[in-house]
């Protein structure tokens, strides 16, 4: 009886301690929470509202219902921008994954100076995207660029990467490989986590390098590859700076190329060059929906190929 009473007395005290701890926790994370609400949640909600308005920054937004969304489906440049962006993503995401994996495998098998190579591969990632855009114009110059110079050495007459609409996107894909360093480091970390005994067993069974890679390495690092697949796809669908700098920005004040008109570039131009903030907000929401759908499809389709050591989560 007395024990029960004591237990009953302790309950409010425990609750009060928990409340104090909760308050303390909330207090400590409040800077982040406030930041999230002010700089993320509120702008997202506000952009949803703006997408239903005609708004030019200066004058009050005027409600236009779903007009912006209707215009969006009638605007031929939206279709062009989506096509360009998808094509770029379809080319760049596999290229990124394959190159990153290849470099990580090389690094993983390097006996010496791995630290140096890790740094060397990561360094280009530190290059500002604008600089990469400028580099693209220089490296891929049809007349004097290094790329065509190298192709010329093996007897290939390189294309006009920066003007021929058929070669603009491949050029951008190749240039985007400049920044695979971060993915290489992530894959390398995953490779280091693959248990050595699995390779030892496979060796005993007579499996060669190729078989070990396909049957052990790739399945064991598949969660990492899956993560990069999703993230690289989202990045590709939001691709902006390099293409904008090379084909629409300061380096080309008047020259532009429709083949490089990515969705985010069109959105930016509508918002910040033509001041159609309402329309640009509608474009942003469409992009959000597209990315959500693609990501959901990717998760559904690729789930069965991802191996989690602790079982499917």
């Amino acid at each position: 009886m007395s024990l029960a009473r004591e237990h009953a007395n302790r309950l409010p005290r425990r609750r009060s301690t928990r409340w104090i701890e909760t308050r303390a926790a909330l207090l400590f994370i409040s800077p982040w929470l406030i930041g999230l609400l002010v700089f993320t949640a509120w702008p997202i909600i506000n952009s949803a509202y703006l997408s239903l308005t005609d708004y030019d920054v200066i004058n009050d937004p005027s409600f236009v219902g779903f007009d912006n969304y209707v215009t969006l489906f009638e605007d031929p440049k939206v279709g062009l921008a989506i096509r360009n962006t998808f094509l770029f993503a379809v080319m760049s995401v596999p290229a990124h994954l394959v190159v990153s994996l290849a470099l990580a495998l090389l690094l993983n098998s390097a006996a010496k100076a791995t630290g140096f190579f890790r740094t060397a591969f990561f360094l280009p990632k530190m290059t500002p995207p604008v600089a990469i855009g400028v580099l693209l114009v220089m490296l891929f110059n049809g007349q004097s660029g290094l790329v065509n110079g190298a192709l010329g050495l093996v007897g290939i007459d390189g294309p006009a990467w920066t003007t021929d609409p058929g070669w603009v996107k491949p050029g951008l894909v190749l240039m985007s490989l400049w920044t695979v360093g971060a993915s290489v480091i992530i894959i390398l970390a995953a490779l280091r986590g693959v248990p050595q005994e699995l390779y030892d067993s496979a060796l005993v069974d007579g499996a060669g390098w190729w078989r070990r890679t396909l049957r052990i390495t790739v399945p064991m690092i598949s969660p990492t590859l899956f993560f990069l697949f999703i993230v690289d796809t989202i990045n590709a669908l939001q691709s902006f700076t390099e293409a904008y700098t090379a084909f629409f920005g300061a380096g080309n004040t008047t020259y532009s190329n429709d083949a490089a008109l990515f969705y985010a570039i069109y959105l930016f131009r509508q918002a910040f060059e033509f001041l159609h903030m309402g329309y640009a907000s509608a474009l942003a929401w469409l992009l959000f929906v597209i990315i959500m759908v693609i990501t959901a499809v990717q998760i559904l389709v690729t789930r069965r190929y991802v191996h989690y050591e602790g079982g499917q989560s």
Partner: protein, 451 residues
């Protein structure tokens, strides 16, 4: 970017169209105190500094705070919407119509009258570019015009003269472009003639007798037969030299502002180009063999497409009177003369000629022209061509959708240059896009005026 877009929405508009700042009295004898904030202007060289010093002195004790660098439109408009506008902005003249139509800047009618700004002294094309809906919205300064620049040694070798490449005969120009061209083994070594597309389409169109936009700024004329023909001709010059891709690749690989520029290295026969490039060439390659003339119509008349800068007072500016005084003083004949004197002294010290300044102020131009010092041949002919071009300018009128209009025709030219469309097809599409943008923007402006 979505976040930036959304955040921009947080600065809500202040509403209303462009109406004169009510109750502001402009007194030319008044003095000011406090701080005058200016966006988009940096004193840079002596031309800016000398005038800015005089303008600051004319305020009688007010501090001037500059936000240097090109005007950031987004930053400027957000500041106006948020009620924290600068007192004065320095913008490109072709932006004025858009700013005015959205109510971001105020008409300067009272400023011009109260401070006694003599608008008759301004270049009338420049003034037209800053006049919107019948009201002057900005005070213009500087003029950029195009002249023909050519490599005289290449011309001589090909048995040509500057008259063959100045546009006065399109037949001769076509022939000269291919004569000057050098492309051994298919690799472009010397560009015969660079038509400077897409940026100079207005120049080619006007040379062929067409304006891209009607005088009232309301009707696009992008697919008129003259414009189509002008584009076909200018693009054809590239085609005859192996295509735009090759010319652009060669152009992009040149050291445009350095000692290894195309003229110094004899890699370019001729091109129309803005006059400031004469100074660049004179600075970096004074020994280059050059020839200059105006750019001419097929009838032989000089012609140039003028553009430049302007001072405008934002809506909500806290010191509109001081802003007006500053803009007025910056563009006074005396200020320009003082700046030119400083430039003459500096050029003399550097052992270089003073090649003049185009101020967008006719009287100042006259005075400064008298101060020009000879640089000998060929530079004197460049200066002469510059002043002659300045007397034969045209410009596009102010309109509320300038950026969309410009994007429409530039995209059209680019589609042709990239081989995606034929000139007629590209310009038909541009016409539809441009007219739709103009109609929408003018309708919104009309709504604002009536509300």
């Amino acid at each position: 970017m979505s976040l930036a877009l959304a955040l921009s929405g947080c600065a809500k508009g202040t509403g209303g169209g462009a109406r004169p700042a009510g109750g502001v009295t402009y007194d030319p004898s008044a003095t000011f105190h406090g701080t005058l904030s200016i966006m988009g202007f940096g004193t840079g060289d002596e031309i800016g500094k000398v005038r800015a010093d005089r303008a600051e002195a004319a305020l009688g004790g007010m501090d001037v705070k500059l936000a240097e660098g090109d005007l950031d439109i987004q930053q400027f408009l957000s500041s106006v919407a948020a009620g924290s506008a600068p007192d004065l902005v320095y913008a490109n003249r072709d932006q004025i119509g858009t700013f005015a139509s959205r109510g971001a800047i105020v008409p300067l009618t009272d400023c011009v009258k109260g401070e006694g700004v003599d608008t008759t002294m301004f270049d009338q094309n420049a003034l037209a570019q800053v006049t919107f809906g019948g009201a002057v919205y900005a005070i213009p300064e500087f003029n950029q015009v195009q002249i023909t620049m050519a490599d005289s040694s290449l011309l001589d070798k090909a048995g040509l003269t500057i008259a063959d490449v100045n546009g006065s005969s399109w037949e001769s120009l076509s022939a000269a472009a291919t004569k000057l061209l050098q492309a051994p083994g298919g690799k472009l070594k010397v560009i015969g003639f660079d038509s400077k597309l897409p940026e100079f389409l207005p120049l080619w169109a006007k040379a062929n007798g067409a304006d891209l936009l009607s005088a009232d700024g309301k009707t696009a004329q992008l697919n008129s037969p003259q414009v189509v023909k002008a584009l076909e001709f200018a693009v054809g010059l590239y085609t005859a030299q192996g295509g735009f891709a090759k010319v652009k690749a060669a152009r992009d690989s040149a050291d445009f502002f350095g000692k290894g520029n195309q003229f110094a290295k004899h890699e370019l026969g001729a091109m129309p180009m803005e006059q400031w490039y004469v100074n660049v060439l004179n600075d970096v390659s004074p020994e280059a063999t050059l020839a200059f003339d105006t750019f001419r119509t097929p009838r032989g008349e000089p012609i140039a497409y003028s553009s430049g800068s302007a001072w405008a007072v934002p809506k909500g500016a806290k010191n509109p009177q001081a802003a007006c005084r500053f803009a007025k003083t910056m563009t006074l004949v005396e200020s320009w003369k003082a700046a030119a004197e400083a430039r003459v002294a500096k050029r003399k010290q550097d052992g270089k000629p003073f090649t003049g300044i185009l101020t967008a102020n006719d009287r100042a131009d006259e005075e400064i022209r008298k101060m020009v010092t000879s640089g000998g041949r060929p530079w004197d002919s460049g200066v002469q061509a510059m002043y002659e071009a300045n007397d034969h300018t045209f410009s596009l009128p102010a309109n509320p959708a300038d950026n969309e209009f410009k994007t429409a025709w530039q995209d059209a030219v680019n589609r042709v240059l990239n081989g995606q469309e034929k000139p007629q097809q590209a310009l038909d599409r541009a016409q539809r896009d441009a007219q739709a943008a103009l109609d929408k923007a003018w309708a919104e402006w009309a709504d604002k005026k009536t509300n």
